[in-house]
């Protein structure tokens, strides 16, 4: 059960190994990794701004909500900020449970809430200039599933 907000990269494999090491009670481990995608072919970098005073506690609230809803044996949220290049990792979540359904649903839930409730803003720097990424209505709608 931990949340990390950092500028540096992370290693998904090492993080997952740490979550399950020396444990025999975890049957299912789900991870999601978000990567910088170059949609138009002219993306130079993605700049992630955040609200430092709020970010950690916002992520912890989202994680606590997942822990309250599902029987989780472990969970992790890592979210980066700063300047990221195409192909680089933006964030990851991982959830571990006895059963696959709880692990899948809780990871999906974490992602839906991170998208619209974690105080991050993305700016795309391209050859033609820079532009803030608009929030998608579908992302806000996705929260109603839960």
């Amino acid at each position: 059960m931990s949340v990390r907000v950092q500028e540096t990269d992370f290693n998904v494999g090492e993080e997952l190994a740490k979550l399950t090491s020396d444990r025999v009670d975890i049957g299912a481990l789900v991870s999601f990794t978000g990567l910088v995608r170059d949609v138009t072919g002219d993306l130079e970098a993605l700049e992630l701004e955040h609200y430092p005073a709020m970010t950690q506690s916002a992520l912890e609230k989202i994680e606590a909500e997942a822990i309250a809803r599902w029987d989780l044996d472990a969970s992790l949220i890592i979210h980066r900020y700063g300047r990221l290049e195409p192909g680089q990792q933006i964030m990851m979540v991982a959830t571990a449970s006895k059963h696959r359904k709880a692990a899948f649903e809780s990871a999906d839930f974490l992602m839906d809430f991170l998208k619209s409730r974690a105080p991050f803003w993305k700016k795309e720097h391209g050859l033609e200039g820079a532009e803030w990424v608009d929030a998608k209505e579908a992302d806000e709608d996705a929260l109603k599933r839960w």
């Binding site: 998208k115 409730r117 105080p119 803003w121 929030a135």
Partner: protein, 83 residues
């Protein structure tokens, strides 16, 4: 009262500063927004469509009609795009 105001993303860019201290008698978030909009054009540019501006009082998201109360920090920013 004095309140710390912080801005993020394009709200910050339109207003031109990341934070400032504002002296106000506004009772609610909406009152404060109206006051700022009346002060200078750059606030009007940032707050022209409040349906795409989110507000947090002391790091908790709130609605526009929320009373400022004892708030120390108010934040204005676009809908979040995390993940």
């Amino acid at each position: 009262m004095k309140i710390q105001v912080v801005y993020f993303a394009w709200v910050r860019e339109r207003i031109g500063v990341p934070k400032e201290t504002v002296e106000t008698e506004a009772l609610t978030v909406a009152d404060l927004v109206a006051e700022l909009v009346a002060r200078e054009e750059r606030y009007a540019a940032a707050f022209v469509d409040m349906s795409v501006v989110r507000v947090a009082l002391d790091q908790a998201l709130v609605a526009l009609d929320t009373p400022l109360g004892e708030t120390r920090e108010i934040a204005f920013f676009p809908p979040m795009t995390g993940g």
